[in-house]
């Protein structure tokens, strides 16, 4: 018999409060193959791990089972402990009696029985393990950053500063993301563009950074250390190698009435354009859909005026393939499409109901109104301004259940700016709660209140136009009375949602999103920057709503993670991958088509059969490519394929152990 040691963790009282750990250990001692069994307060602690070492020595154990928390957290810890005790780290099985037992059950008897079953299954599994060895794969020392906003730029700069080349892919014609659109940043009220544009320039100028703007990632193959990325460089129709960025073309372009998304629709641009004066790269592209030359083959003015002949109407999309070792996702956010959901606010039919981002442009000196707060409808300065918070946030009927985190602060900032810029202004903020967790945030909010901004607790139930006024009806829930405001301008603090297309890109790169479409981190507490896909990291609002400092911090954090991957020439791979039994494999090749990593091919072997040597083809696994999903194994009829660590025999043994 093999000699299994079973270690049952109390996790303080986390497990022991519900599961009778002592009884579990006692029962485990009776299972076939178990030579030693004990319960312990904290198996993951140093004394707990020492206990494994000591027990292995004293009882000559050759396999270890730990019953504790989720293996998704501590499996590596106990594998190491197993290894430290002199046993191959794969002669180890872990079962989860915390998340899957003590935390979800209260009936002590039944929970204990369940824990005993789970331990029995783990023992049955570990009896069929064999020692496994890691192998190593090379690492491509280059990172890909997807998204050129503040998170992406920060990540790219930090990785580049670490000495590794970075490819930054941005879908828009310029990097910078949303931050350059903002006027001031809270709570310090320093100029957003003044701190953002230098960052854009540094990114552009960094020798280790290659930027692809107006580009999208189309395909990602491979795996950590060895991703092959295909980038689609969309046609720009302007040769940026020649273009000097003089801007003459923009001034001459006849099509000037195209809503500028940089101005959040508040201002216009031409068909050949730079999003804003400090755009990086500071060179225009042609918006093909609105260009008369490209749509109707008329005009052609820009080519005529261009002093360097940089205009290229026959420009084509280009596919660029690069190898990278790590990927940082920084795809940012969009605003909740409130017009589709909020009928009571007029579905967007009142021009003077705007979003916070639009307000940023109104209040921005480089914006369409040169920093004067003027109503979109008639260009008049509004006197009574209503701010409504939580539009789309904290509203699981119309919008999202979550809090968007930044709105309390930017609304306070906007209210402050309105009071500051407009004399005799009357500013009312409708709110549910005011959340000001952050350095200097509460102080800023208090200042705003002191400025005279009127905070009303309650939701606005209706907005309608009456003459040139917007009638805002709501309830002051503190006073318990109806409130009506005759406003000139209404600003909605709309929720942050994942940027458009973020789900598709997650699919392309190969990781999952959460219920709201934000990128799923590997662990909400301890692995907030990692995805479940090794080598892919998260930065900024793509993972969840964030303000600028948090975003920048995550950018740096993700960069540190990616740099850690790139710091080695090669990395060890998990040995839990598929294997082929050549003698059984018939070479039908069904597995070849099933493997998502193209890790299987048919290779020729020679074999003795019936007294002679024959050559035939069998499946062969590339250990660098195989990720151990096991889809091929379940598709293999003869059982020639098996998945190390999750073999047919091990799973059958677990199934049997559940019932016997």
């Amino acid at each position: 018999m093999k000699r299994v040691g079973v270690f049952v963790c109390h996790c303080g009282s986390n497990i022991a409060a519900v599961v009778d750990c002592e009884r579990v250990a006692k029962e485990a001692a009776k299972f076939p193959g178990v030579a030693f069994s004990i319960d312990n307060k904290y198996m993951c602690s140093d004394p707990g791990q020492d206990l494994i070492k000591k027990a292995v020595e004293e009882h000559h154990l050759d396999r270890i089972v730990v019953a504790s928390c989720t293996p998704r957290m501590h499996e590596p810890v106990f594998r190491r402990a197993t290894e430290n005790a002199g046993i191959n780290p794969y002669l180890f099985a872990m079962t989860n009696i915390r998340e899957h037992v003590s935390w979800i059950h209260t009936d002590r008897e039944k929970a204990t029985e369940k824990a005993i079953d789970l331990v029995r299954m783990a023992v049955a599994k570990v009896l069929h393990t064999v020692p496994l060895e890691k192998s190593s794969i090379p690492i491509t020392k280059r990172a890909l950053v997807i998204g050129g906003g503040i998170a992406g730029m920060q990540a790219a700069l930090d990785i580049a500063d670490n000495g590794n080349p970075v490819v930054l892919v941005e879908r828009e014609p310029t990097i910078g993301g949303k931050m350059p659109m903002l006027d001031k940043t809270f709570p310090s009220l320093d100029c957003s563009a003044c701190i953002c544009t230098p960052k854009m320039a540094s990114t552009d100028q960094h020798p280790n950074i290659t930027i692809y703007t107006h580009s999208e990632v189309e395909r990602v193959d491979g795996y950590i250390g060895n991703f092959q990325v295909t980038i689609r460089q969309k046609a720009k129709y302007v040769d940026h190698k020649i273009c000097t960025g003089c801007g003459l073309c923009e001034t001459k372009c006849p099509n000037k009435k195209i809503p500028n998304s940089f101005e959040a629709g508040m201002g216009n641009r031409t068909a050949i354009y730079k999003a804003f004066p400090q755009a990086v790269p500071n060179k225009p592209i042609i918006d093909a859909a609105n260009c008369r030359k490209l749509t109707k083959d008329k005009c052609g003015v820009c080519a005529k005026v261009c002093p360097t002949g940089a205009i290229k109407y026959d420009d084509q999309d280009e596919l660029i393939t690069i190898d990278v070792g790590a990927i940082v996702m920084a795809t940012g956010y969009d605003l909740f499409p409130w017009k589709e959901a909020y009928g009571e606010y007029g579905y967007g039919k009142y021009p003077d109901v705007i979003t916070g981002l639009q307000f940023e442009r109104l209040v921005n000196a480089s914006g369409p109104t040169s920093g004067h707060i003027l109503r979109p409808s008639d260009g008049k300065e509004p006197k009574t301004i209503v701010f409504i918070k939580c539009v789309g946030s904290r509203d699981d009927v119309k919008g999202k259940a979550y809090c968007s985190r930044t709105c309390c602060m930017y609304t306070a900032k906007h209210a402050h700016q309105a009071v500051d810029k407009i004399e005799d202004s009357h500013v009312i903020v409708f709110y549910m709660d005011v959340r000001t967790a952050g350095k200097g945030y509460e102080e800023f909010y208090q200042r705003t209140v002191e400025d005279g901004v009127h905070y009303v607790r309650g939701r606005v139930s209706k907005i309608y136009q009456l003459g040139d006024k917007l009638i805002v009806r709501g309830e002051d829930t503190l006073l318990g009375e109806a409130v009506q405001v005759n406003a000139d301008l209404v600003v909605l603090a709309t929720a942050m949602v994942p940027s458009a297309g973020s789900g598709e890109i997650a699919h392309i790169v190969g990781f999952s999103t959460d219920k709201d479409g934000f990128y799923q981190e590997a662990h909400p507490k301890l692995r907030p920057l990692e995805t479940f896909t090794a080598g892919v990291f998260l930065a900024g609002a793509c993972q969840g709503p964030k303000d600028i400092p948090d975003t920048a911090a995550q950018g740096s954090g993700a960069a540190a993670k990616a740099s850690a991957v790139l710091s080695n020439r090669s990395m060890e791979t998990d040995p839990l991958i598929s294997q082929v039994n050549d003698a059984v494999c018939a070479g039908c090749g069904v597995c070849v088509g099933i493997c998502p990593y193209r890790a299987i091919e048919l290779k020729e072997i020679t074999q003795r059969a019936g007294g002679k040597t024959i050559a035939r083809r069998v499946a062969s696994i590339n250990s660098g490519l195989c990720q151990g999903c096991g889809a091929c194994v379940a598709a293999c009829r003869s059982g020639a394929l098996d998945l190390k660590g999750f073999t047919n025999q091990q799973i059958m043994a677990e199934v049997d152990a559940l019932c016997l």
Partner: protein, 297 residues
């Protein structure tokens, strides 16, 4: 249908004589009038034994697997159903196309020796058509190097899945009782597996002892697992030749499960006919569509 035996013999003789093939697999007349068992010949003078009469019911294509490593070239006679089995074997890469010379024989239906015996008939005309030929969709070979005889019209048919629907209409307990009565009879002689052109693995999962997926003990539970596993391994790959059911000595309606699977695959993943096109995409369970029916939300 005129007797193609003469042409068959002539062709076989030529193929062996000029060394184009190393052996020929066909049918010969057995000891009893209702038997036309498989025949293997390597010498031109033996070709006179070849026949193709009402009882040439056996599919010969699985015999190709016995010689898959020999490097020999085989001349083989195939009916429509047999030819689909051959396509299956080729698609599973068990033999190379170049290693077979395929002689197609359009077939308007064969007769089953067991039925000949149980019907008490004393000559072929008294024997009813074989059950497996009743719903034949492909009377003409789908793959061949040469064809002997005229193409045959597929029979006008009733509902291909009538028997399946009859079972589907039963309650769960009735279904289970029905299959219990059938699977209880199974001797686990493995004839259905051995004759199946889709069961072309070198080593069958049932024969592997580590882990043993199926105990040797003969009981209802193991018999069911045997039949379900076998059918599932053939899912999307079964060419409906009906040989499994024909060879079963216990009369287990094996095709009723196979047909159910064909019916469901057609319903779930779109119409699919196994073993018809040599160069088609992987069988239905070896691929997927993102738009496949979603029932598991």
């Amino acid at each position: 249908m005129s007797d193609p035996s003469g042409e068959m013999r002539e062709l076989a003789k030529k193929l062996l004589e000029n060394g184009e093939v190393d052996r020929i697999i066909g049918w010969e007349k057995g000891n009893l009038w209702y038997q036309s068992p498989p025949l293997f010949i390597t010498r031109a003078e033996e070709t006179d034994r070849l026949v193709f009469d009402d009882f040439a019911i056996n599919s010969l294509v699985t015999y190709l697997l016995d010689e898959r490593d020999s490097g020999k070239k085989t001349g083989i006679f195939v009916k429509g159903c047999d030819s689909r089995g051959l396509v299956r074997i080729l698609q599973d890469k068990q033999i190379a196309r170049e290693s077979v010379y395929v002689i197609g024989l359009p077939c308007s239906g064969k007769k089953d020796p067991r039925q000949a015996l149980s019907s008490g008939a004393s000559e072929s005309s008294q024997v009813p058509p074989a059950a497996k030929c009743e719903e034949c969709l492909y009377p003409n070979p789908v793959i061949y190097d040469v064809i002997i005889g005229e193409a045959v019209e597929a029979k006008a048919k009733g509902d291909r899945f009538a028997a399946v629907k009859e079972i589907e209409a039963k309650t769960a307990d009735e279904k289970y009782a029905y299959w219990t009565s059938q699977y209880s009879k199974c001797l686990r002689c493995l004839a259905c597996r051995n004759v199946c052109p889709a069961c072309n693995c070198r080593e069958c999962a049932f024969d592997i002892s580590k882990p043993r997926i199926l105990a040797k003990e003969n009981n209802l539970s193991h018999n069911m697992v045997y039949h379900l596993t076998r059918a599932f391994h053939a899912a999307g790959r079964c060419v409906e030749c009906g040989e499994c059911e024909r060879v079963c000595p216990m009369g287990i309606p094996i095709m009723q499960l196979n047909k159910k699977i064909i019916k469901e695959i057609n319903d779930l993943f779109g119409p699919y006919e196994a073993g018809v096109k040599l160069d088609e995409t992987p069988p239905p369970l070896g691929t997927y569509q993102t738009s496949d029916p979603e029932e598991f939300m």
